[in-house]
Symmetry: C2
Subunit: 588 residues, 2 copies
């Protein structure tokens, strides 16, 4: 080894020890008689001391060190005269007797500090320097810890990690696949997996009983903010279980991770139906760190000749506790906020509930008695602010969900160090695809599997597949933490006929179904066990545990919103020789 110790481990008990350290020059301070250099490595920072009087030579060398030089020093551990209580090595410093420059460094394009002056693009281009920042490295250490504890928990529960293939087959019924031309099989392509779904189900058919994998998945989407073309899942599947068993097992995992990684005991996870989530939160991933539930006001506000409410399909309210003192200016601003194209509300009605009574923005139509009914419906108290949106059902519910989250943020109810977890269950099996830009255009105007085509309908709803497919509920569930869908799964179909029927509902011809998923349906003929599973979005889970909004800083080498790796400048053109060997041509 080029060192005897790391820069994070020397303490007062090491005094007089001769040590050799390696690392990067974080900064140096030349105080005339004394020169101090902070030496940094992954484990910490140790101060190097050079005394001009005692060793001029060494001091001169030290003065030539620039930031980010890589050096090796040998010296004696001595006690510091002025200790730094904020640094674990702050009691000591190294009196350096030898110094060797292992590598020089030009000036980095941004400072290697927690608060850097580098913008996003610059940091991504020089990601290898960005990763030197303590704060970014700690994110990846957290990720490592989460992976480790996930494996610890699942191993103890008899899960076996099995690697499934990355070069698989294109099944364009879901999001778009990335494809890989095969040189050995001319004009044929592999696809990269959007998830190991069919393989993990086949492992259940094989009797593997409990499978997991922390695995890369791929989706060729038009990248919204904070999506990555390649992402990581904790992918799991179990046999001989019912939904409740899976919820319990992975509630256990979630609690284990909070306990081991964050030191937090989280309570048992409540379960909420999809219907209730939509009703009370306008959202299938409700942020339950705060209440402020949506209240259906349609029957409360009618018959007062206020056309906006009378004509509206849906009228929804929330009661923002303690927000009655919101000024007119704040409320006008909030009104503009809900009118933005992303939400598209036509306006915002409000009522301040104060000690003096209730005053609304539509007092012309609603008298004190009417407003008292509003208050009763919303459960408002003096000091509260009632906010109301009206319009078409879907749009209004969605807008109200956003407004609720916005008010939660403004009122400080969404502390990222406070975690609220729940299961959302009983999702619809299908949704109508009006033309989702992340699906192939040829799939528009069809039913689309909300979860995926292998999700089991609830047995009692199977008859509805013919009469009213949109009403069929699935044995599907999501785990939601602080308004973020962290994982989702389902009990699977394990009967060939039901699986065929499902493909039919999704608009597959028999031939298409057989061509794409024949291997799975064939497998079901040889004795498939009842099974189900779940997948956690691992990048998202890491960012949530790290208390951050973006997943990007929890991925070592992320891509930007155009799917580019700015550091290695990829994707890039390939040579004609390569294209030729693959029997493909590009065109403009």
């Amino acid at each position: 080894m080029l060192r005897t110790n790391t820069c994070g481990e020397l303490r007062i008990e090491h005094i007089n020890k001769t040590v050799t350290l390696c690392g990067w020059v974080q900064k140096s301070r030349d105080l005339g008689g004394m020169t101090f250099v902070d030496l940094r490595d992954r484990y910490g920072i140790t101060q190097l001391a050079f005394n001009m009087d005692e060793n001029k030579d060494m001091s001169d060398k030290a003065r030539q060190l620039s930031r980010e030089y890589v050096i090796q020093v040998t010296g004696t551990v001595i006690e510091r005269s002025s200790k730094n209580k904020n640094n674990p090595t702050g009691d000591i410093e190294i009196k350096v007797s030898e110094i060797k420059i292992l590598n020089t460094a030009i000036t980095p394009p941004f400072t290697i500090e927690d608060e850097t002056d580098g913008g996003d693009e610059l940091r991504m281009k020089y990601r290898y320097l960005d990763l030197r920042r303590n704060i970014v490295r700690k994110n990846l250490e957290l990720r490592h810890r989460l992976a480790l504890e996930t494996r610890n928990y699942l191993d103890k529960q008899n899960f076996i990690e099995v690697e499934t293939p990355v070069l698989i087959k294109s099944t364009p019924e879901g999001a778009r696949d990335f494809v890989v031309p095969s040189r050995m099989n001319k004009n044929q392509f592999y696809a990269l997996p959007q998830s190991p779904q069919t393989f993990k189900q086949l492992l259940m058919v094989s009797g593997f009983d409990r499978y997991y994998q922390i695995v890369k998945c791929f989706r060729d989407e038009d990248l919204r903010a904070d999506r990555q073309p390649e992402f990581t899942q904790i992918d799991c599947e179990m046999s001989f279980v019912e939904q409740e068993d899976i919820l319990n097992t992975f509630e256990g995992l979630t609690r284990h991770l909070f306990k081991m990684v964050k030191g937090i005991d989280i309570p048992a996870l409540p379960r909420m139906t999809y219907t209730d989530a939509m009703k009370y939160y306008g959202n299938d991933k409700p942020d339950t760190r705060f209440e402020m539930k949506l209240v259906d006001m349609k029957s409360v506000v009618g018959g007062k000749n206020f056309k906006v409410f009378d004509d509206a399909e849906t009228v929804l309210a929330i009661c923002a506790k303690g927000a009655a003192e919101y000024t007119r200016k704040q409320l006008d601003e909030l009104t503009e906020w809900v009118k933005r194209p992303q939400l598209g509300a036509t306006g915002l009605v409000y009522a301040r509930h104060t000690a003096e009574g209730i005053k609304s923005s539509v007092d012309k139509f609603y008298d004190a008695d009417a407003l008292k009914k509003w208050s009763e419906a919303c459960g408002s108290q003096p000091g509260d602010l009632i906010l109301i949106l009206a319009g078409g059902e879907d749009k209004t519910r969605k807008a109200m969900s956003e407004l609720r989250l916005e008010m939660g943020t403004r009122l400080g109810l969404r502390d990222k160090n406070n975690y609220s977890c729940l299961w959302v269950v009983d999702f619809p099996l299908l949704e109508w695809n009006e033309g989702d830009p992340n699906l192939l255009a040829s799939l528009a105007g069809r039913w689309h599997a909300k979860h995926h085509p292998f999700t089991s309908p609830k047995p009692e709803d199977i008859a509805l597949l013919d009469s009213d497919p949109g009403k069929v509920r699935a044995n599907a569930y999501d785990i939601v933490i602080n308004g973020v869908e962290v994982g989702g799964g389902s009990i699977r179909i394990f009967n060939k006929d039901l699986q065929s029927r499902m493909f039919e509902v999704l608009g597959f011809t028999k031939e298409e179904a057989q061509k794409q998923f024949g291997f799975l349906m064939n497998a079901f003929e040889f004795g498939a066990p009842p099974h189900g599973g779940i997948a956690f979005g691992f990048d998202r889970l890491c960012s949530l545990f790290g208390g951050a909004e973006s997943i990007r800083d929890f991925i070592a080498f992320p891509k930007n919103n155009s799917g580019r790796d700015m550091m290695i400048d990829s994707p890039s053109e390939i040579s004609d020789e390569q294209l030729k060997e693959l029997f493909i041509k590009t065109y403009q």
Copy 2:
């Protein structure tokens, strides 16, 4: 849960317990009054007993169960009258009171037994049934265990697992890349990594200090037997180390794995130079379970007018201990064996050393005195057989290496439960590419990096880069177990100028080097630490620990020699819609 217990856990102490089990019908035996069914799951086999007299109904149901039906049974644990000592559950059986068929099964195309009647192709097509076989599942359990213990060891040594990207950039200087057309970046391609080499080096530049990853890698090769287009590596890198530190760390990993997974204490690993490996074994991955070293006979056999030896560039012998009684027929057969086109020897000279003296196949040219010299050179004793090949250096050495291995096998010296590990060190830095079919044709007639372009030459050999590149030795090393290269690595170049020089030697123009590896060389300007690493072939390691020749049975869903997944029938054609979105065309 659909069960209270697994099929592997019930013992004599569970007698009288009411249990519910789930699993597959392994077989059933109808003995008239009694019917017995073996129920199988991942954990074991439990016998179910049905008594015609006591419960005719249940017995009738049991008789309808075919192989591989999936059933759920409830019953009482009872003691068996005739116990089966070969089965951990063999002391008990279940007196069944309820039976439910969870799924039926058609007859599998081969038997689900350790010794199956299914051929390779059939087993691959129905891999999900093949994986039901105990013997195959155990391979994957071994793999899981090895991964787990690898992580345990490396975690304790402060390594951090970092996921590197799968969608990277094509760098066609190595083997062929698999490429992925980008929809969002028209006419550009990602490549799948042949290894995370540059990323792990960048992590060292970032100060991660100790990195590892168990990671999928991809290589578009014409598949030799037992190669897979996607394979798994244990990939590692360390900073501030010298070669010796890496050897010690990963010797530690190897010994840990043998200890924890096989219960074997292996001795410290000897180190052998590449030169010695070639000299004594004709091979850079010597099987050191047995001696039988190659002996250079050129100076011993000359001057006797035996033209074959006199004209030969190289004359090599091995001494096969205890093989003097080989019959003429066996020796003729061995002669045919070395003359096969794969080895291409022109003939085989032999000498039997018996109590009566030494008799050779070329006694015409060599008298007793001459043969005594042979014996002295080879160290033969009465009872031994000397085998000699002559011809051009490379061909003869390679053929003799093969003959040595063959004789080792024939003499029972290659017991797969006996492990001999070593390091081979001081590899040449470069080799001349005469036209390797696994490289792009445009790379022929150039120097090629034996390990990869980032491997550091030995400092004392750098001057030879100009005068005699083929003579430059690298700080590169392989770990070899039982004649198999299990892992390899090197100390890396960490200086921009030396890296540029290396690309130059490899025939890159400055522009090509900058375009493909500019990010790495730029990174080296910002303070790169001395670093080095290693990668283990994980599939190969698993097969070695499993005592098997082929890696295929240690991969859950392998591909065949044409790179096809026979089960899912991939690669396959994709739709015109998909091609169009990618702006590519295929052609014949």
